[in-house]
């Protein structure tokens, strides 16, 4: 009877401990990764390859998402305004929303699925096939070889991909305003420049950088700590995507509270 009454609290406590334990292990893992950065000769020659895989190869999906996001933003803005608000505010809404929120967040979520899952699956497979153990056996630093270039590539390339995504989203919103909303370029640009501040771009870069750090480090963490066979790899991949997506949203709110 008592156990049944305490069961919900036990579950909550276990989840909290698991979360705290996971955060602690991730912290230790991140610390080890930072320490592995001293092996520049190991991760340096792998960095460009990872930047290309994580960043450049992710540009098409990021631009695809941001293009339609810009279209939808413009259309929904005009639908919401319903004549009560001047149409040039479509430019305000498209610009501000793409820069401050949807550009970084949607790009981060898309890349968490593509990049985070890829990293978790790749490292998880290496772990379950004992390739990581082989590296350790050869005294080759696995964190410097497997984790550091991916995390650094994510930190560098996420802002770059996000900036391109924001630019394409704004352009698609502008074209949508011209073609579907009977707005002029001058009207859209007036709204776009009306409340623009250079800090908006800085805010975008800060968020995207943090998202890059989170997506790649979480992907590496779950991949590096994969247990079991193929099922474990799948489980790690799923956990990596879910965790990084959740952390992206938490960080999104965090940066909004701290910086805006």
């Amino acid at each position: 009877m008592t156990e049944r009454l305490l069961a919900p609290f036990t579950a909550i406590g276990r989840a909290a401990l698991s979360l705290a334990s996971g955060i602690g292990r991730w912290g230790v893992f991140a610390g080890d990764t930072v320490r592995s950065l001293r092996h520049v000769d190991v991760w340096g020659r792998l960095l460009l390859e990872q930047m290309s895989r994580i960043g450049a190869d992710s540009v098409p999906i990021a631009l695809f998402i941001s293009t339609f996001t810009g279209v939808v933003l413009a259309l929904q803005a005009s639908y919401t305004f319903t004549g009560a608000i001047p149409m040039y505010f479509v430019g305000v809404l498209v610009g501000k929303t793409m820069m401050l929120e949807l550009g970084p967040v949607l790009t981060g979520l898309a890349l968490s699925g593509r990049v985070g899952a890829n990293i978790a699956a790749e490292l998880g497979t290496m772990r379950v096939t004992e390739q990581v153990d082989a590296l350790e056996t050869m005294a080759y630093p696995p964190l410097a070889y497997l984790v550091a270039p991916r995390v650094l590539a994510g930190i560098i390339m996420f802002p770059i991909v996000t900036v391109l995504a924001v630019g394409i989203g704004v352009v698609s919103g502008w074209l949508t305003s011209l073609q579907l909303l009977d707005m002029s370029t001058a009207e859209f640009l007036r709204g776009l420049t009306l409340f623009f501040r250079p800090f908006d771009v800085v805010f975008t870069v800060i968020k995207a950088t943090s998202f890059g750090l989170i997506v790649t480090s979480i992907g590496c963490y779950f991949g590096f700590h994969t247990r079991g066979g193929a099922a474990g790899v799948g489980q790690s991949t799923t956990r990596a995507v879910v965790a990084s997506s959740m952390v992206i949203l938490v960080l999104d709110a965090f940066w909004a509270v701290v910086l805006l």
């Binding site: 460009l48 391109l164 420049t193 771009v201």
Partner: protein
């Protein structure tokens, strides 16, 4: 990593940097090489103006707000902005802040002070800094309207208190009185209308008379005009000129005569003075005449002598031979 992947990576990085940098500069309103100059204005209050808001001159955007900061001491707010280098400011220029629309976007406009003379401008103490003032925004207007609404509410309440049953009866009585007065006024107006008709007729007659007189005056003036148009006028004018010359001569003569008169008067004054002296001496009994006047006996003798002389002269006229014998040879 093959060359194509490297090129693609480089293209992505460069593209993102270009988008970020150029996009930021463009959205910030940078001039991209066009020379600009920094200016400042001070305000007591700046409303919702923010960095990036437009600076306008005659409705045309000529720059952007760069910075808004409270000046040291907190007395004024300093607005830094950047405008085109070759911008010519109006005489006695000031900066006016105002809402650009009803949705929170503000603008700063450079205008001559005479355009908004009633605005309270903050006065700068440094040269080159413009005075500035802010027009009320929609929130202030709404606040004022709210105060008016409150006042109207108070007034309505007071009206409700003041408008009792007795007041209603008084108002009804007043309306009846007004109706009676209106009827009287109507009768008076009818009566006055008749009088006014008579007055109007007389005025009409007077106007006719004035019209007739005006016609006669017009005819007279026409005749005068005709006379003036004839050749006799020239000779008349010449005669007038001769008369004027004669008058001038006469005036000259009169001036000469006046001089002579003044000399004669002077001489008369002198004669009168001497006569006065003589009479004074005579009154004092000096001289023969004085003694005569003083002594009545002598006067009587003189009078008797004169009588006798008259008798003698009469006798000489009547009998001249008695006294004169005339022989030529």
């Amino acid at each position: 990593m093959n060359r194509m992947r490297e090129a693609w990576l480089g293209l992505v990085i460069v593209g993102a940097i270009v988008v970020a940098v150029v996009g930021t500069l463009w959205l910030e309103g940078s001039s991209f090489g066009q020379s600009q100059r920094d200016m400042e204005a001070v305000f007591e209050e700046v409303g919702l103006i923010r960095p990036g808001n437009p600076i306008k001159l005659r409705g045309v955007e000529v720059g952007r707000v760069q910075e808004v900061s409270v000046d040291s001491g907190g007395a004024v707010v300093r607005l830094s902005f950047r405008v085109d280098e070759d911008l010519v400011l109006p005489e006695d220029a000031v900066v006016i802040l105002s809402p650009e629309s009803m949705f929170g976007d503000w603008q700063a406009e450079i205008v001559p002070r005479s355009r908004f003379p009633a605005v309270a401008y903050a006065q700068p103490w440094e040269p080159g800094v413009l005075p500035g003032g802010a027009l009320p925004d929609i929130s202030e207007l709404t606040h004022t309207a709210d105060q008016i609404a409150v006042n109207l509410g108070v007034l309505t309440d007071r009206m409700g208190i003041a408008f009792s049953d007795e007041t209603a009866r008084n108002v009804a009585s007043m309306i009846d009185n007004i109706e009676a007065v209106t009827q009287r006024l109507s009768a008076l107006v009818t009566q006055q209308a008749d009088s006014f008709t008579g007055v109007t007729e007389r005025v009409q007659m007077a106007v006719d008379g004035i019209g007739s007189a005006a016609d006669q005056a017009t005819a007279t003036l026409e005749r005068v005009d005709e006379l003036l148009a004839q050749d006799d006028v020239a000779s008349t004018l010449e005669d007038m000129a001769v008369i004027a010359a004669n008058m001038r001569d006469l005036s000259g003569d009169l001036q000469g005569t006046n001089a002579e008169i003044r000399q004669t008067a002077a001489r008369a004054d002198s004669a009168f003075a001497r006569a006065d002296a003589i009479l004074t001496r005579m009154a004092a009994g000096e001289g023969t005449m004085g003694r005569v006047l003083e002594n009545e006996g002598i006067a009587d003798d003189l009078q008797a002598t004169v009588v006798e002389l008259k008798v003698l002269l009469t006798d000489i006229r009547e009998n001249p031979r008695r006294y004169f014998s005339l022989s030529i040879f």
